[in-house]
């Protein structure tokens, strides 16, 4: 499903060049649940941005469902993000002026889906995360755990093949964190591919496969 070949990423900030990824090769099959671990600054988020088509590699190749996307235009990448990928961020990243329903609906609006189907999909996604009764609430009126569940619903509404989560439990206490992880496990059982980024070994244990990276390189890989 996903394949990285010798991917590097170099950041240019002013005159300083920083090599955040130094040659990563990685294959993720359909239906896998992969956790990426590593210390702060090791390049986990950089990797996720590339996997999520939010950014393109400096060199190397990236095949998304068999198609090489590292030379895609902004619009082509936007389309992949919109239709094939669901994002879950550490900071939830909901739009504060919109209520739960509208936040979940937004990716479908950008897909130009008709009202009836949109409505049905948003409801289904909200039911899946147990927040259908909170659809009128604004993000500020929700707890952290609830906000993260709204974000999961938003990621799910588009029925993506791939779900990318960058430290989804990082801002949650252990109890709500466990709830969120349970939802993700269920999603994986239903056949979705999941890539989860985390610091926390306990969180990583939810995954079937754990990849450790350090200083922009994969240093260890094991299966649970």
């Amino acid at each position: 499903m996903l394949e990285l070949k010798y991917v590097t990423k170099v950041y240019n900030s002013g005159s300083i060049q920083f090599k955040a990824l130094k040659g990563i090769s990685l294959k993720v099959d359909r239906g896998e649940f992969v956790a990426v671990m590593g210390p702060s600054g090791s390049g986990k988020s950089t990797l996720m941005n590339i996997l999520g088509c939010l950014d393109v590699p400096t060199s190397g190749e990236y095949f998304f469902e068999g198609i090489e996307v590292s030379n895609f235009t902004d619009n082509q990448l936007a389309e992949i993000r919109n239709k094939k990928i669901g994002f879950i961020f550490q900071k939830f990243n909901l739009l504060p002026q919109m209520n739960t329903y509208e936040n979940v609906e937004l990716p479908l609006l950008y897909r130009r889906m008709d009202t009836a189907e949109r409505n049905q999909r948003v409801r289904k996604a909200l039911e899946q995360v147990g927040l259908i009764d909170w659809k009128e609430h604004k993000p500020t009126e929700l707890s952290g755990g609830q906000q993260q569940r709204v974000a999961i619903a938003r990621a799910l509404a588009g029925d993506p093949h791939l779900i990318l989560a960058d430290e989804p439990t990082g801002n949650l206490d252990s109890k709500t964190g466990t709830e969120v992880l349970k939802i993700m496990k269920d999603l994986n059982k239903n056949g979705r591919t999941i890539v989860l980024i985390t610091h926390d070994l306990n969180v990583a244990k939810s995954a079937k496969r754990i990849i450790s990276i350090k200083d922009g390189l994969i240093v260890e890989e094991r299966r649970n």
Binding site: N49, A78, F87, N93, Q97, Y110, R111
Partner: protein
């Protein structure tokens, strides 16, 4: 995203920031209402002047005879023969002077015009009550008189003045009619005058012949033809002396007035439009601030699949909505301002639909134009960079 949804979203964004939005709109509101009021004042003035000029008669030429040496006037019959000329519909000779009119103990200084029956149609004078001067009145030098509406108001406190006798510089005249009110024009009040038969007037004013006459052309297109015929006749009559007479062309005057006032409307409207542009710069400024403030929002939208075009349109709709709302409020204030000027300052204002439409569309265009730069800036943000923004 559908257009209606996008507008709804823009609306939400805008009302979420009421004070800022209002202040931003203010420039547009002031600009649009100023354009409307300025242009309306000029148009109102123009239409008032035009109305006045036309109430004096349409397709009109007026002639003043200065004469050449001792030959200083035209004969009455000579004047009447002009009406047979090509393009000329009617001829009205006038002999005028000043006099005092008296009824009972009331007196008033007025203009006396000696006229014949042609005057009524040529000068577009309608009679409010009674009758106009008839050919027989002219023929037999009847001492009959028509009063202007102001004269009636001044002299008579009572009923209908028709049939009453007034004194004009001491001699008795019978009132046969009252003229319709006309208002004042460049030549003074049209209502503070009296009309008597021209033959009577020549004797009364001790003048000979005709020194002033009005000529009505058959149609607007024939004015120039009539003018040429008239000029030819007069040059011939006064041995090619161009200084012996002067012809005023009413339609020429009208077009001069129109030209001047149109220029004025353009100039004043243009000055007011500058404030609209300043308003547009205000919108641009606020939109740029807004783009920076909402960098993270833009990043989120892009991450979940918004394309450049989606972001561009979102911000353009926001700026167009601000300026469009401002434009609507500006139109309302402009119309209200017109009403108030009319009511409290007595200034004639006239707003045509086209001015309202132009002012409003201009405000929309300003909004879109000055929204382009900020919207483009927003749409070009990279999703990763925007998401990292705190």
């Amino acid at each position: 995203m559908s257009f209606a949804k996008a507008v709804k979203m823009a609306y939400k964004e805008i009302v979420g920031n009421k004070m800022r939005t209002f202040l931003t709109m203010l420039g547009i509101i002031i600009g649009v209402s100023a354009v409307i009021i300025m242009v309306s004042i000029v148009q109102g003035t123009t239409s008032r002047i035009t109305e006045r000029l036309e109430s004096m008669g349409t397709n009109l030429l007026s002639v003043r005879i200065m004469g050449r040496g001792a030959d200083s006037f035209l004969e009455y019959d000579e004047v009447l023969s002009l009406s047979d000329k090509y393009g000329i519909l009617g001829v009205a000779p006038v002999a005028s002077g000043n006099a005092t009119v008296k009824y009972g103990t009331n007196t008033m200084d007025i203009t006396v015009e000696g006229v014949d029956e042609n005057y009524q149609s040529v000068r577009n004078h309608t009679v409010q009550s009674g009758r106009f001067i008839a050919p027989l009145d002219v023929k037999y030098r009847h001492k009959v008189i028509l009063l202007g509406s102001e004269v009636v108001k001044e002299l008579f406190t009572i009923q209908n003045p028709i049939g009453e006798t007034v004194k004009l510089n001491g001699s008795n005249y019978t009132v046969i009619g009252v003229l319709e009110e006309k208002g004042s024009s460049i030549g003074g009040s049209n209502d503070e005058k009296v009309l008597i038969p021209i033959s009577t007037a020549q004797r009364f004013l001790k003048t000979e012949g005709i020194r002033s006459l009005f000529i009505q052309a058959e149609s607007a297109e024939m004015v120039d033809v009539a003018y040429a015929e008239l000029e030819k006749f007069l040059l011939n009559r006064f041995k090619n002396d161009e200084d012996a007479f002067r012809i005023f062309n009413q339609s020429e005057m009208l077009s001069t007035v129109n030209e001047v006032t149109n220029n004025m409307a353009l100039m004043l409207g243009g000055i007011a439009a500058i404030s609209l542009i300043v308003g547009g710069i205000g919108i641009m400024n606020i939109m740029l601030v807004s783009v920076t403030e909402r960098t993270r929002e833009i990043g989120i939208r892009k991450a979940i699949g918004a394309k450049r075009k989606d972001i561009l349109i979102q911000f353009l709709i926001e700026s167009a909505t601000i300026s469009g709302f401002g434009g609507i409020i500006g139109v309302i204030i402009g119309l209200a301002g017109n009403k108030m000027l009319n009511m409290f300052a007595g200034i004639n204002t006239k707003s045509t639909v086209s001015v309202l439409v132009i002012a409003f569309s201009f405000s929309l265009i300003v909004g879109v134009f000055f929204g382009i730069y900020p919207a483009n800036k927003a749409s070009k943000l990279k999703p990763v960079d925007a998401l990292r923004f705190e």
